[in-house]
Amino acid sequence: MSESNQVTEPPSGKPSVSRRDFLNEITLGALGVAGLGGAALTYQYFSPNVLFEPATTFRAGNPDLYPVNSVTFLQDQQVYIVRTTTGFYAVSAVCTHLGCITQWKPEANTIACPCHGSKFQPNGRKIEGPAPRPLPHYAINLTADGELQVDKLQTTKADEVLRV
């Protein structure tokens, strides 16, 4: 045992790393690991797992409620239900710029944001303004009892239409 120890020591007889440096580095390393772990735990703590927020899926009633070629604003859900000659789609009413609620202007056939003046077509495509992206389309389908149902967590392509 002691013989092999002597072999590994540098020829000067002094260890290349002093005990103080070794302990300093071990302690700093441990503190660093603990700090990183603490930061991760703190991030987890501040990300809630259960949210008491409004449901993201909702029923929008019977399709017959919506006339052909109409845009209907559902205030509680902040969604436009658009019915064209081919069918239905649901467009978010939340402006993609900074989250204000847009308004449907039937006389101009546009969706307009009151905050910073962004304008969109009824299909969500951007006409002008600071908004960086078009208004997203939400997944829309029919329930078993024939009502429209919108899922605000699922976005779909702008050309997808629910035929009824």
Partner: protein, 250 residues
């Protein structure tokens, strides 16, 4: 009258209790005047001596001291407002209305807090511009300039977190728009917004988080940095005075 007051003071100073608190003698010599500052926790970060020039109004227009004064006013009025405020929906809005219309002198305190906050932002900016145009960011004041920038940010964050607390439409949309600016950050923006709000929308979690930031975390940080800022003014050799001292008009 004056002599009897003097005698009472002398008698008070010779009591054991007084001498246990102020161990130096009366501040009548330069040495004991210095000790009065050095030996006092609340004064020791102030300079023992100042140049007469630094005391002129035009030296800095007392902008830093006035900012501190406003901060202290905001702490006092803020703590008083806390006695009638629940950081929960929908109580927060009703509490704010109660403070305005029901609680005695509540409207005075609330407006003092509100106007004081507006004034503090104004004064802090004015202070910063004044220091900037005096060259107060140059050596040896660079460190204190950075501390000042941190204090400016803390002032703005305090304003912004306080903005949500009335829980009215203005508060809701201001914070909706403001936190959407966070989510414009690439990759991590949405995650940071989620943690700041405690959810996807500006709801009760967000109100409580902003409240805790507003009444505990940010004021403590502000106290800390204000202490460093004032202490450092002295350590860096006092106020930055103009290269040629203007007397009177300029």
């Amino acid at each position: 009258m004056a002599t009897s007051f003097h005698t009472t003071l002398e008698n008070l100073r010779s009591t054991r209790v007084w001498r246990s608190i102020f161990r130096r003698g009366p501040a009548i010599t330069n040495r004991t005047r210095s000790l009065a500052i050095f030996g006092n926790l609340f004064l020791h970060w102030l300079p023992v001596k100042v140049r007469e020039k630094s005391l002129r109004v035009r030296a800095a227009y007392y902008l830093g001291s006035l900012s501190l004064l406003l901060f202290l006013i905001l702490v006092v009025t803020g703590v008083l407002l806390m006695f009638y405020y629940h950081p929960a929906a929908p109580e927060a809005y009703h509490d704010m209305k109660d403070l305005r219309f029901v609680v005695s002198n509540g409207v005075f305190l609330r407006n003092m807090h509100r106007v004081g906050a507006h004034l503090m932002v104004l004064l802090v900016f004015w202070h910063m511009f004044h220091v900037f145009y005096r060259g107060g960011y140059k050596p040896p004041h660079e460190f204190n300039w950075v501390v000042g920038v941190i204090l400016l940010l803390l002032t703005l964050f305090l304003s912004y977190t306080g903005y949500l607390l009335p829980w009215d439409q203005l508060a809701f949309w201001a914070v909706t728009v403001g936190t959407n600016i966070i989510s414009a950050m690439p990759f991590i923006g949405n995650k940071i917004r989620f943690v700041v709000l405690g959810g996807h929308i500006v709801g009760e979690n967000a109100l409580l988080r902003f409240y805790v930031l507003h009444v505990v975390i940010l004021p403590l940080l502000a106290f800390l940095f204000i202490g460093v800022h004032f202490w450092r003014v002295q350590k860096d050799g006092g106020l930055t005075l103009g290269s040629k001292e203007h007397d009177g008009k300029n």
